[in-house]
């Protein structure tokens, strides 16, 4: 018996029940059979609404969790700061090492060329 009109009418009535609609549901001009199904489902929805009343956590739990989350977030932020500083220091030493290595290899090549030229000049 599920029809688009019936589904739409039910959804509108549910929104009214849930307090999400101020104006009454629009007339969907349902057939008597659709109307009968709608009428049989609305009390079920009303009972569900009545049973599922909002529940609040205890203020003590809320405050405790807030405190522990905040402490964990601050700790994590500090770790990230330290982590990024450490990695910057590490990266700087890697760059210095790479530069020194490059200079050494250039010096080595130059020295090798000069040594070879001297050897050739002697012979």
């Amino acid at each position: 018996m599920r029809t688009r009109k019936l589904v739409e009418a039910l959804a509108q009535n549910i929104d009214s029940l849930a307090g999400l609609r101020i104006d009454p549901p629009a007339d969907q001009s349902l057939s008597p059979a659709e109307q009968a199904v709608l009428v049989s489902l609305l009390p079920v929805a009303a009972r569900v609404k009545q049973a599922l009343k909002p529940v609040a956590p205890s203020p003590a739990f809320e405050a405790r969790l807030r405190e522990s989350l905040l402490a964990a977030a601050i700790r994590r932020a500090e770790e990230q700061r330290h982590g990024s500083r450490d990695s910057f220091v590490q990266r700087r030493w890697v760059l210095i090492g790479a530069a020194a290595g490059s200079i050494l290899s250039v010096v080595g090549v130059v020295a090798a060329v000069l040594w070879r030229q001297r050897s050739l000049a002697r012979t």
């Binding site: 849930a18 009972r47 529940v55 739990f61 989350l69």
Partner: protein, 185 residues
């Protein structure tokens, strides 16, 4: 998601105080949602805490692609509850252990007890529905979300959400009308 909330979420990626504001904004909603899915305060507290810890750990990966921050939080809570239910492999009876009965004027105590019993039976029946139907009822009736918001959380279109109301209420009506069938389930 409003511009204010977008900015807050971006700040919360690096600023603990901003995350604390988001926590205050959503803790009651997440708790309410979890409570009606697990049925007792102790597990609701545990799962609410885990939801926010996970959100804090992963907020750096949250990308604003039309999905509100609240929908992202509900999804985290939903995934944690799915794991929780899988671990337990059982349907828990709705405890509502310390929920105060509604004492309306002129209502006899016996009547109040009957109403509470009726409510517990209904909640136990809801818990026999498939998880996504339970989720739908809690998001609509306990959380008061619009169909569009529910669709974003459940990854469905608004039309699909509306159809799901129909199927859910029909199933629920059948379970309530046939307690023997309910026992068999």
């Amino acid at each position: 998601m409003s511009a204010d909330e977008q900015a807050l979420v971006e700040r919360a990626k690096t600023d603990p105080e901003a995350f604390a504001i988001l926590y205050e904004r959503y803790v009651q909603k997440i708790y309410n949602y979890v409570y009606y899915r697990v049925g007792n305060h102790q597990d609701a507290e545990d799962l609410t805490a885990r939801t926010f810890y996970r959100a804090m750990d992963h907020i750096g990966q949250f990308r604003q692609r039309g999905v509100p921050f609240s929908a992202w939080l509900y999804r985290i809570a939903h995934n944690l509850m799915a794991n929780w239910h899988r671990d337990r492999q059982r349907h828990q009876v709705v405890a509502l252990e310390d929920a105060a009965p509604d004492l309306e004027q002129g209502v006899e105590p016996q009547q109040v007890a009957e109403m509470e019993e009726e409510k517990d039976r209904l909640l136990a029946t809801i818990r026999c529905l498939p998880p996504e139907r339970q989720q739908l009822l809690v998001l609509k009736f306990a959380e008061g979300l619009s169909n569009a918001e529910i669709g974003q959380i459940m990854g469905r279109s608004e039309g699909a959400v509306k159809s799901l109301y129909y199927r859910t209420l029909v199933s629920l009506r059948e379970l309530l009308e046939d307690p023997a069938g309910f026992e068999r389930n």
